[in-house]
Amino acid sequence: MGRYTGKTCRLIFMLVITVTFFVVEIVTGYAGNSIALVSDSFNMLSDTVSLCVGLLAARLSRRRGSQRYSFGLARAEVVGALANAAFLSALLFSISAEAVKRLSRPERIDEPLVVLVVGALGLAVNVIGLLIFQDCRCLSASARRDPATEEKVVMNGEAGSLTQPADSVKTEKTQSDSQPLNIRGVLLHVLNDALGSVVVVVASLLFYLRPLEPEAPCNWQCYVDPGLTLIMVAIIMSSAISLMKETTNILLQMTPDDLSLSTVLEEVCRLPGVISVHEVHVWELVKDRNVATLHVKVTSEFPDSQFKMLHSQIRDIFHKAGVHSVTVQLEVSEGELDSGHCTNQCTSSDCLKLSCCPLEPKPDTGGKQKQHSFSGDVAVNMENGQTTLLREQDTKQLDSNRTQSTTF
């Protein structure tokens, strides 16, 4: 994300070109009274909007943390990418609506030459834009290949190829080889415009080479434009949806894909003195910046002097897993009566609904729900030398001895 110093510069440059071309197109369109030009200029305008969103997001993400934004605004890029993807989807929707209307009532292109020229110019502008961002990606990919990391390198290589296979999300987690999400959102818009220009050029070329008589009804030529447009919409839509899915991974606070949470937790539980682990949360702030919080329960005999060591060991485990901002809450077990659950829960049980992730009681198990961890978290208990999720262990315990601390 945002490691190129020239990233914002490129966005600004692209913005300037696009705005200029938009003004040129709209003036020509109204002067020459060509609706096609006017609508193509509106494509440029939407490009401008998406560039502004992208630029704003890139600028904001550099802001430092403050009172209001304790994490800084690093997430702005991801939110910007989502906004761009949603905006693009809406535009694609209205474009396809127009195309369907055109299919039901086909129109001819009246001045193919003008449209051809301006379409070609628009295509040139968009290709320049795609190339600008493509350049730095290839350069940076070769420079930043780090043999020390085990992560794979993604090299898409082709210009504007933003349709990625489904499992590419994992390979995307390289250091900085892939485009940041924000830039991908902007590029999708530019690609959309470029393909639109291609369609315009093809259709107007067709009308230029095989002109239709003014009085003749529309033949198959009139269906080329909307037909190609629909194909283009399908192509871009799939990329937009995959971009949205990627932003979803981050925005919904999901566990990073390349992290095996259960392995990490097992390792933590194997540390001397650790009984169990609960309230584990691992999430990505942005790509490559992972945050974890967890509560660790230690035996009551654990010596105080060893706390710091245990802490460092836990941090080491997470560091190896790629998580570098870890907050560990240590809790001392209450001995045998300890049910393994959080000893430091909020003061009232009513807070549970307001805690981050309460467990929804399953309707079929009825009263057995009593013993479940109300924090509803992934927890591992290594007491018996086996790994079981705390929830399952509770059910087993309940079946066997029914000695839980819930009597009143």
């Binding site: 430092r64 929707f93 566990t255 549970l352 109300f374 601390s405 819930t406």
Partner: protein
């Protein structure tokens, strides 16, 4: 459950809207009316918005943690709200562009009567939708931080426009929980809040008993927690339906005025249409003009109806766009702020920081982060420096109840013990120095610095120059200074 009701409402509206979309599509085919076709696409956009909201609601029902998503899926609703808000803004944008085009190139409406009827039908459906979702109109209820308690009455809390049946249901449940809490022993580990209703049902007292909850978790707050998460999502849906309703109103008004005010060109007469420019590009009215050109001997010229009628449609559209943008922008902002991990607006970070520092036994606080998962679910993490581990458990309880009072119920507090008083401001347990770019927020490790630098930058330099501190976040180095802050904050 509010969620179940939202589900049903969304499904119902979705089916209605989709059905109407199909009807409009068929009618447009039959009457060859372009206006009908475009209105049907407005309905389709509504369908899309409703689908997004429905998917979000379905996802968000699963609030429990899984290994894939340790927070559950409740944030899906916030995302759904953002996507819908952006979608709506983009639609406004395209409508705006269409209106501008119409100004340059006005159209007549063909077969206005059909348009009136279908427009009225669409309006009825949208009004039904508004009625279904009206409870979520206006601002979201984000009062998570209040500490006041409410009595045991189950009636509506003034100013909330929620359906009564919903409220009385949840309020009964909450009351039962209040009672159960009062009678419960403090060791409530392993005790699910929900099932408290089941086992404590025999000790539920009458509704009229006023209960003062420990820690000021108010009835209001509890009701809102389950609702405010869904609030944003439903607001997005409501705004979409509102937009569509306004669109239908415009269509109907326009078609009505067109029917009664506009005098069109009929095929038989010689007719001049002064509203269109001479080199008319629109083929819709060429057929009405061309017979006039052929019939040059007739001296009677009639003019097509008042021109302002043609400009009514785009003007009304512009007004509608302005209204929609004005109402959508707050939703956009709110959902974006949640997704950006900002500090919730109810929480004053500086004050909270000061109060936390002033707790007994707390030497220093750093890496304090507070963010909103969704609705009223706030999450806080902090590193707290204390003297020694033996006093820590006490301090931990105090910190916990402090956060509880502030309305934050999911916290992770990392204790750090340092006997060395001079290093009180630094984190004892940072990751390796080469990990600096990968931290959530860079902290300055230079011991002389007074600032808690939280940087969201992607610069490659790991040991950057001392960052200027931002407002109110000075990490003080001496314990004496801590006392000073305490004094200041209590003033």
């Amino acid at each position: 459950m509010a969620v179940g009701r939202n589900d049903r409402r969304l499904l119902c509206m979705l089916c209605l809207t989709f059905g109407f979309f199909v009807v409009e599509l068929v009618v447009s085919r039959v009457t060859a009316s372009l206006a009908m076709l475009s209105d049907s696409f407005h309905m389709l956009s509504d369908v899309i918005a409703l689908t997004v909201a429905l998917v979000a609601v379905r996802f968000a029902e699963r609030t429990q943690a899984t290994s894939k998503n340790t927070f559950g899926w409740i944030r899906a609703e916030v995302m759904g709200a953002l996507v819908n808000a952006v979608f709506l803004t983009a639609l406004c944008f395209t409508i705006l562009l269409e209106a501008v085009e119409r100004y340059a190139d006005p159209h007549e409406i063909e077969s206005p009567r059909v348009v009136v009827w279908v427009g009225v039908a669409g309006l009825l459906i949208n009004l039904l939708g508004l009625f279904l979702f009206h409870g979520h109109a206006g601002h979201g209820h984000s009062h998570g931080g209040h500490g006041h308690s409410h009595g045991g009455h189950g009636h509506s809390h003034g100013g909330r426009s929620r359906p009564r049946y919903e409220e009385s249901e949840t309020s009964e449940k909450k009351q039962a929980q209040e009672e159960s809490h009062r009678l419960m022993v403090k060791s409530n580990c392993g005790h699910s809040g929900d099932h408290a209703v089941q086992i404590e049902s025999d000790v539920v007292l009458s509704h009229n008993l006023q209960v003062q909850l420990n820690g000021d978790v108010s009835l209001e707050q509890l009701e809102e927690s389950s609702e405010s998460a869904a609030q944003l999502n439903m607001r997005g849906v409501f705004l979409h339906v509102l937009g569509d309703a306004l669109g239908s109103v415009i269509v109907v008004v326009n078609a009505l005025i067109f029917t009664f005010v506009w005098t069109p060109c009929h095929g038989e007469e010689t007719c001049v249409n002064p509203c269109f420019s001479s080199h008319c590009s629109d083929h819709q009215h060429t057929h009405s003009d061309s017979p006039a050109l052929n019939n040059g001997t007739d001296g009677v010229f009639s003019e097509a109806g008042p021109c302002w009628v043609l400009y009514l449609d785009p003007t009304l559209c512009l007004i509608m766009v302005v209204i929609l943008l004005y109402t959508t922008f707050p939703l956009l902002k709110e959902s974006a702020f949640i997704l950006l991990q900002t500090v919730p607006k109810q929480i004053d970070m500086q004050k909270l920081d000061g109060k936390l520092r002033s707790l007994e036994g707390v030497l220093a606080v750093h890496e304090l982060h507070i963010w909103q998962l969704a609705g009223s679910r706030f999450i806080a993490t902090a590193h707290v420096k204390c003297h020694d581990p033996s006093s820590y458990m006490d301090i931990a309880k105090r910190i916990k109840s402090f956060f509880h009072d502030e309305g934050i119920h999911a916290t992770t507090v990392q204790p750090e013990f340092s006997s060395d008083e001079s290093c009180v401001s630094e984190c004892d347990l940072p990751c390796y120095s080469q990990c600096a770019p990968k931290l959530c927020c860079e902290t300055n490790r230079k011991s002389g610095s007074e600032s808690e630098a939280v940087v969201g930058t992607g610069d490659t330099s790991s040991q950057s120059t001392p960052q200027r501190n931002t407002v109110g976040w000075n990490v003080l180095q001496e314990a004496g200074a801590v006392l000073q802050t305490h004094m200041e904050s209590t003033v």
